[in-house]
Amino acid sequence: MVSLKSGSTSEPTDASAQMNTAAMICKGVWKVFGPNAERFLAEHDSKASYEELIAAGLIGAVRDVNLEIRQGEIFVIMGLSGSGKSTLVRCMSRLIEPTAGEVFFEGQDLLKMPEKDLIEIRRHKMGMVFQHFALLPHLTVLGNVAFPLEVQGIDRATREQTACELIELVGLKGREDYYPRELSGGQQQRVGIARSLAVKPEIWLLDEPFSALDPLIRREMQDELMRLQNMLHKTIVFITHDFYESIRLADRIAIMNNGGIIQIGTPEDLVTNPATDHVADFTRDIPRPKVLSARSVMAPVDDRLTFTSSVPAETKIEVLAADIVDQKGPIGVTDGEGKIIGQITPEAVFDVLLHRGTKE
């Protein structure tokens, strides 16, 4: 990991303390569309509700977002259409100039950076995948994947070799000289993915990369992404409005509504402790066995019992369900050191499976 300790005197101390784990930090980021947005925000001391902004004829696409993305995690941003996800992720790469706030990437405030440095960061440390692929129609697959390197002035042989490796990595070997229009949607997005990896980015931004694909292809692409991530271990910011997709991929999820972030947590946190009704609505139809782990279902241990088998506390109910049904009795739940910290009864598992009364 590269850490740059330069500059940014305004950076609070806690930000530098988190630096070795945080890949990106957003502090009080606002993006308000509309005339004189900056003045309005300054006058209101950066506190304005969505409704107040609407009343002033402005759109609060991103409102006071504070978050921290850890090194190597998959951070999913979720929300309904129009909730500001795309705008937020574009603020993170400064494709959109935020109205207020700070965005730290590797300890540097992106928003204070001169354009030259910003271009350098984008050329070497950031990759982005777009919802509608954004492939260049006049270039072949090879040309598209090699494009970010071409822009840097890397010679043809080198960049084409790198591009060929990436094309092979995403499973498109043999289609190097196809044009985008000759590929299916899924294949086009594979090109988009390969292209975004060409510069070996440290942070990888994906804005609804699979939303334009059919459900079957989408699943396949999610698997593909997990496969790549297991090899590459990037820091990923993934945007989606599909909760199923987010629970398949996410380490942590941020839920957005009307430009603000309502809750950040693991999928399990969101299901067990929804911060608002909105989050609860979002998670209502989630297949709980996929999300809940043994820890959140277990009951206190009865000391006198011994268990014929036990599972680690992180195991998802989905995984242990078959076991427990075979067991016909409670099984133990162990912590990291193998110590029994609770038990799970078949009834508790059935409740989860049947979506019965697990909620508060």
Partner: protein, 666 residues
């Protein structure tokens, strides 16, 4: 008492506030007529009040050419150097296509490298067409150019082509650059948009004059005028094309770390290609439209042939050259459209150059082969004159025959229309007080689009009066008015017919597409032959030239009426006639009016050309200015034509928008 009165008014007009409005207007107009004695200045614009704008413009031009110093160099040096560069390009293309190139071998010896042989050029274009699309296109292009050879137009056509070959790329290049500037800097776009509007509505003749002034009579001036003429659509297309590039693509470019230049040239311009190609096609078509007009300031070739024939009233010769221009236009139009629609094709790597570019190699081989054989067999180099065919005799005979047998009928139609419609209408328009006209237009502006529109319309109308062109402008208005009514009377039924019948629709499409590639002058030749010079001929020519949009828009307007509405009307038991009159026409009217608008624009551009057949309007004013090289007079009269066009355009567009909104169509 008062209350009852106002209630009565409210009752009478309550549901029709429009009526009150127009009654007031009528009263005001009548009052102004009555004011002839009291306020003569409101009826006829006093000549002492005329602002001598045209002299100011002329003086400015003189100053610019003779004295202006731009710091490092004078304006004259500037135009000279541009002229030198353009001349070099022109000489090169002229050498390749027409005259051949003389290569000095040292001392007195010269080697004369001949121009492209006719066989080589036809083969090259046919191969190009094949590689872009298919055999059919190849055949079409081949036949078009073969036509030029067989009908003895080859020489002139090559002169024309050599000017087009330079003007088109330059027009594209400058248009692209201006468009990019406008895209990058909104202030620049705001600055040039009105200028582009003006350039597209000012009749071309008007800016022939300053170009003539700067570059002198000759091919360079002609080519420059052609290029300027084709600039506005390319500029607009570029700006629009860049704005239409999907945001994601631009964002991708930024994320890839492109510099501004890389973003523009490597990402945006290539992604914008389809829309840009529309602009390119426009440039080609407009350049060909200019061919004849440009010949007035020194372009030779086909344009000159037509103009010359027109002056001698040699219909056969003129028609043949005119058709040759059309044929050239069709071939280039189809070629460029095919190229625009072509997507890049996959090529296999690691094969030899010949295998990768078979068409290019074949074309080169043919060029070399024909050039070499050309030295031995002259017929290969130049199409043998003995094999040319001419139809001009036939056309002359046809016209003579018509004139002998139908003179009385034609003359009766002409005099009948002139005496009963044209002249009374002209008198009526000329008698209108200028202030009343201005007021009426301004009021219409308020009703249709609010104060800004109203002020704009009033200012544009005032410009015509203040520069002393009122009477001529009224004559132009009358000619256009009559022509537009006539064109609508002919075009709308055809459009309705085409809308109701798919086969007719397709046939009409082909015909009007072809008509649109005809240069305006072509319409003039037969009209003059049959009706001699005068207002009537001008009107017929304008009608013929401006018919296309009204047909197209009527057809389109009716076709776009939602089928569900028609079904509802059918279910309600409407007859065909009722559906047409009560459902389709009202709903299509906003669209049809846009067609009328276009018809007016085309009509005005034709009007100036009809000055050649002797009208006494603004067109003639511009034309006289051209022959006298009087810059100010030409520009001011030209801007007046543009003002008429813009007043009509703004009002009709505003009406159409309002109406579409009312009908819930937009």
């Amino acid at each position: 008492m008062r209350a009852t009165f106002s209630r009565a008014i409210a009752y009478a007009f309550g549901r029709r506030p429009e009526l009150v409005f127009w009654l007031v207007v009528l009263a005001a107009t009548v009052a102004l007529f009555a004011a002839d004695e009291l306020l003569p200045w409101a009826v006829e614009y006093p000549s002492e009040w005329v602002i001598p704008l045209r002299f100011w413009v002329s003086d400015f031009m003189k100053w610019l050419i003779n004295e202006a110093d731009l710091g490092l160099f004078t304006f004259k040096q500037f135009t000279r150097s541009i002229s030198w560069v353009f001349n070099w390009f022109l000489a090169a293309s002229f050498g390749v296509l027409s005259e051949g190139v003389k290569i000095p071998l040292g001392g007195e010896a010269l080697f004369h490298l001949p121009s492209l042989s006719w066989i080589a050029l036809i083969a090259m274009l046919a191969i190009m067409a094949y590689s872009i699309r298919d055999w059919a296109l190849s055949l079409l292009v081949g036949i078009c150019f073969l036509y030029l050879a067989i009908f003895g137009q080859w020489g002139s056509a090559m002169v024309t082509l050599s000017s087009i070959v330079v003007a088109v790329p330059l027009g594209i290049l400058f248009g692209l650059l201006l468009g990019i500037l406008a895209y990058r800097h909104p202030w620049f776009e705001r600055a040039i948009t009105p200028l582009l509007d003006l350039m597209q509505t000012v009749p071309v003749f008007a800016y022939l004059v300053p170009v003539l002034f700067m570059f002198g009579f000759g091919p360079v001036a002609a080519m420059t005028a052609t290029m300027i003429y084709s600039l506005p659509p390319m500029t607009r297309c570029t700006t629009m094309a860049l704005q239409l590039v999907p945001t994601e693509i631009v964002e991708f470019g930024n994320m890839a770390g492109c510099s501004h230049r890389q973003l523009m040239w490597k990402v945006m311009v290539p992604s914008a290609r389809p829309t840009l190609m529309v602009g390119v096609n426009q440039v080609i078509m407009l350049s060909l439209n200019m061919v004849i007009i440009a010949s007035m300031i020194g372009a030779g070739g086909l344009g000159f042939d037509v103009l010359h024939a027109l002056r001698r009233l040699a219909i056969g010769v003129g028609l043949e050259a005119g058709v040759a221009i059309t044929v050239l236009a069709i071939a280039l139009d189809r070629l460029s459209q095919a190229y625009a629609g072509k997507a890049p094709v996959r090529v296999k790597k690691k094969v030899s150059f010949v295998r990768r570019h078979p068409h290019l190699v074949a074309a080169l081989a043919i060029i070399v082969a024909t050039t070499v054989t050309g030295f031995l067999v002259p017929a290969v180099a130049d199409y043998p004159e003995s094999l040319t065919v001419t139809t001009s005799g036939f056309w002359e005979k046809l016209v003579t025959w018509i004139n002998i047998h139908f003179f009385d009928t034609l003359d009766a139609i002409k005099s009948g229309l002139l005496l009963n419609v044209l002249i009374p209408f002209k008198r009526f328009l000329l008698s209108l007080p200028w202030l009343a006209v201005m007021g009426l237009l301004a009021l219409a502006g308020v009703r249709l689009g609010g104060w800004r529109l109203s002020l704009g319309v009033a200012a544009m109308t005032a410009f015509v009066a203040v520069t002393g062109n009122w009477e001529k402008a009224m004559i132009s208005t009358y000619l256009i008015g009559v022509s537009v009514v006539l064109a609508s009377g002919i075009g709308m039924p055809i459009g309705i017919w085409a809308a109701g019948n798919d086969r007719v629709h397709r046939a009409v499409q082909v015909i009007i597409d072809t008509l649109q590639t005809l240069p305006a002058f072509v319409y003039l030749i037969p009209v003059v032959m049959l009706f001699r010079v005068g207002d009537f001929s001008a009107m017929i020519a304008v009608v013929a030239y401006s018919l296309v949009p009204i047909i197209r828009y009527t057809d389109h307007g009716i076709r776009q009426v939602p089928p569900s509405i028609i079904e509802a009307a059918t279910a309600a038991g409407c007859t065909h006639r009722q559906i047409l009159l009560k459902v389709q026409m009202p709903l299509a009217l906003p669209e049809i009016m846009l067609g009328v608008n276009q018809t007016i624009m085309l009509g005005l551009s034709m009007l100036v050309i009809t000055a050649l057949v002797g009208t006494r309007d603004l067109g003639q004013e511009v034309y006289i200015a051209l022959t006298k090289a009087d810059t100010g007079r030409g520009i001011v009269a030209g801007v007046c034509v543009a003002m008429i066009a813009m007043v009509a355009d703004r009002l009709i567009s505003a009406w159409s928008t309002v109406r579409k909104k009312q009908l819930g169509l937009s």
